[in-house]
Amino acid sequence: MTISKPATIAVIVAIFVVGIILIWRAAKKQPQLRTFPAVAGIDELVGRCVEMGRPIIVTPGAYGAELNKPGPIVAALPIMHYVARQSAKFGARLITSVAYSDTYAAALPAIEAAYRAEGKPELFNPDDVIYWGSLEGYLTGNPSIIASQNCGAMIQVGYPAAAGVTQNEMANRIGAMTACIAPNAGDSIVFYALCADYMTIGEEYYAASAAIAADRSQLGSIISTDVVKLAILAIIVIGVILAAASPDISTQLIKLLTTG
């Protein structure tokens, strides 16, 4: 039995750092957090839809757990649940659009639970949770629903794939506001920057998911990620200095970390 690469051990160390700080923070007072633009915009978007009498559409992205994206899907559910609760509270019609069956199976009870939690189960309509069954269906169906139902706002959570462009652009065309919360740094980010009114990307995707829960230990985990990010930043700075001083040392260090 042998232990794999030192880089793997570094990940485990990071996990322990996050875990320890998470538990430590949970015992302390409520942490103060920065605001996440897209999350802060959700209430505004729901309010806008109520005032205009138009529905709001929320989607957990173009992928499902079957396409090896289970993490972002699970992180998307609290945000979707929050949107559903706000919609139920203020009486906005909520349309949920999902691409794959596993996401559908997860999203349906989360949305229904939100209506029950607000004491308005009669407002929940299962027909408003739309399952497309394929990426192609999702890509073309979502803009079609946004246009045909005249949605007042769109909230895109998770990996959007090319749908990030199609649905944002269609939302812009019909005058709907959009909030996009995505974990990736891929091509769609460019189009988010072009089309979205509110945008939260990268690590803040997972942070937003925790921030919405307003749970002390979950908020503590956001602070712990900031600590790990600072540590990574320090390593990068040290690496740059080492590389400038002696390229050989930095090359050997990278080799040691990656191959063991």
């Binding site: 039995m1 042998t2 232990i3 794999s4 793997t8 051990i9 990940v11 485990i12 990071a14 996990i15 996050v18 875990g19 998470l22 538990i23 079957e66 993490g71 699970v74 609290p78 649940h81 609760r85 069956s101 596993d102 559908y104 199976a105 989360a110 939100a114 399952y131 069954g133 192609e136 890509l139 073309t140 803009p143 462009v165 199609t166 652009e169 269609m170 065309r173 974990p183 990736n184 740094a185 460019v190 072009l194 089309c195 990268g202 690590e203 803040e204 995707y205 997972y206 942070a207 998911s209 829960a213 307003a214 749970d215 230990s217 979950q218 985990s221 956001i222 990620t225 990010k229 990574i232």
Partner: protein, 212 residues
């Protein structure tokens, strides 16, 4: 079943699966890797049961549309159900999904539908790009400047006219290799840190779907 057990049991199962997956990727021990592989396979099989849920919900929704004659919907629902039945018949008949008939059906309907969807996408891509060339703020002005540099440096027309004399390629290469790569790596690293924190929350059962 007790309510506490109902709430705790999924977290115990998830934590067990995460720990096994992590250990199998960290420790080189064949029985552990085999167990992890079998566990992942089992989870994959369980995951595919959700497709059954999806199919049932689709059929239920479309049959209701048809029986209620839902305006602007029931015609499409009939088409969807008929297509579904035809595909099921061909998939389950002799030769299965590899049969000539099924493949002809697949290539004759789904592939053109896919490319129709792609065509739709291209139109919206152009439309979004046009939107991008309207500088509404300092940030978007910066994007417009970078986009113009990239277009001139990479566009075949500008290359044909100016050749290498314009010397924008060096600027474009620098933007791509230094600025773009640096920003992408930064986002990627922080995303990984975020996903580690997320995984820890799932592992210790602190990641909740329902907000308080």
């Amino acid at each position: 079943m007790n309510m506490d057990i109902k709430r705790t049991a999924p977290f115990v199962v998830i934590a067990f699966c995460i720990l096994v997956a992590m250990a199998s990727r960290t420790i080189t021990y064949d029985p552990l890797r085999t167990f992890s592989s079998q566990l992942e396979h089992t989870v994959g099989v369980l995951l595919n049961f959700s497709i059954v849920v999806g199919v049932i919900m689709q059929l239920w929704m479309h049959s209701r549309n048809i029986s209620n004659r839902k305006p602007n919907a029931w015609g499409y629902s009939i088409a969807t159900v008929i297509t579904f039945i035809i595909f099921v018949i061909f998939a389950l008949s002799y030769g299965g999904t590899g049969s000539v008939m099924y493949q002809a059906l697949y290539k004759g309907t789904l592939i053109p539908a896919h490319w129709a969807a792609e065509g739709f996408l291209v139109f919206l891509f152009f439309s979004a790009t046009y939107r991008g060339y309207r500088a509404r703020s300092i940030e978007s002005l910066l994007m417009v400047v970078l986009a113009v540099i990239s277009l001139i440096a990479c566009g075949p027309a500008t290359r044909a006219i100016f050749g290498e004399s314009l010397r924008l390629n060096a600027i474009y290469d620098w933007l791509n290799a230094v600025l773009s790569t640096g920003v992408n790596r930064g986002i990627l690293m922080t995303t990984m840190v975020g996903s580690v924190a997320f995984m820890v929350r799932v592992l210790i059962g602190k990641q909740r779907i329902m907000s308080e």
